[in-house]
């Protein structure tokens, strides 16, 4: 740990799809290498009613990229006079990251969204230089992503309802995070549905 810019501050996020609902979860640790400094550092940002983005990696870049993206999305909504759609948001983000192909931000990103009219759900991921992914069933990025991937695959099944989705996402996340020393200290889950967003804080192991 610490010899990789991506795990300097620690942190991880997971996103999963259900039927007309989509969930995203992140941990709350902010550390400096092996020292935990804060346990209230969440990494999920909202960009519109049904769109959320999680950034994992170097904390300063998490904040800088989220602000830059906020600037661009705000400008988009003002200029175009319409709401941001998940795919537009994802393209804006990957463009922002790929611009810095040769001097990247040290962040990985997850983008989730839901189309309130059709109920279509979106989960995308990106590496630190903006690699474009398909609309996938589940994706995870961050220091514990290797462990969470397996658990996510186990608990995922197609067409889950919001409650099932919440349990599957939370359990995959919590159990994976417990094997990682650079992330944890609780978690925040966002479950996005057509008419509401449910934010739950989870009890996590504090070490």
């Amino acid at each position: 740990m610490g010899d990789d810019m991506m795990s300097y501050n620690g942190g991880v996020a997971l996103a999963m799809k259900g039927k007309e609902c989509v969930a995203i979860v992140c941990d709350k640790r902010y550390g400096i290498q092996n020292k935990t400094v804060a346990t209230n550092f969440t990494k999920i940002f909202q960009y519109g009613d049904h769109c959320f983005v999680a950034f994992c990696g170097l904390a300063t870049d998490v904040q800088t990229v989220s602000e830059r993206l906020r600037f661009r999305t705000n400008l988009y909504e003002l200029r175009e006079q319409r709401k941001l759609k998940p795919l537009v948001l994802y393209n804006m983000l990957t463009n922002l990251l790929y611009e810095r192909r040769f001097g990247p931000y040290f962040v990985y990103a997850l983008v989730i969204g839901l189309d309130p009219k059709t109920g279509e759900t979106y989960v995308f991921d990106s590496d630190n230089i903006g690699a474009i992914s398909d609309n996938v069933n589940l994706a995870t990025v961050g220091t514990a992503s290797d462990y969470i991937f397996g658990l996510g695959e186990l608990f995922f099944k197609p067409n889950m309802n919001a409650d099932e989705l919440f349990e599957a996402t939370s359990q995959a996340f919590l159990n994976g995070v417990d094997r990682d020393s650079a992330s944890g200290w609780g978690a925040v889950v966002y479950v996005v549905e057509k008419d509401k967003v449910t934010v739950r804080e989870l009890k996590g192991r504090q070490d």
Binding site: Y30, K35, V37, A38, N40, F41, L58, A59, T60, V62
Partner: protein
Amino acid sequence: MVESIIGIRGKDFVILAQDTNTTKYGILNMKFDTNRLFKLSEHCAMLAAGEPGDVVQFAEYVGKNIQLYKMINGIELSPHACANFTRHEMATSLRSRNSFLANLVVGGFSTNERDQQRVQLYSIDYLGAMISANVVAHGFCQFFALGIGDRLWKEDLTVEEALAMLQIMVNELGKRMAAYPHCVFVRIIDAKGIRVLENMYPEKIHVAKPTEGDLQTTADMMDIHS
């Protein structure tokens, strides 16, 4: 990293404390009354530690710009806004020719009555990562301050309790740090503004005089027989 800066958020105040040593070559103390607190506005101030030149340059740059904002717009930035502006300046400068090595604690009391959380405390590191917390610190003192803070902090913390907590931290620093904090400046910010409190000093450490028996044990260990 040998400099200590600590911020504690209370019920309706924040306390900003700092050690006062200026060191050279990592081993020499040059002075014992260094000020690390920079006023950003009437109800907001910033503690800064790091490369001495950078610290003053950056803190004054940020401070003066925040004052300029007030002159241009006629309203004062809240501590939250000050901290976000400072973070942005730090992250931007990091990508330029003149990057600064300074770790910061920004604290203050928001004059806006609509703010849910009026006492605001932030920590910003030299990379531009910002966190908001109840107890924040920078430098090696982080190891002590955060641990003690986690243990003793509570909702509705009074000034007395906060100062008692700070005294424990200072004692620990005096006991464990090679860079002994000879004097700690303490400031408080609340609805009335920024005020200076009594200096704080680490508790004297008493090393008991060895008894005859202790000396004999030491001699035995060293295999000295007289």
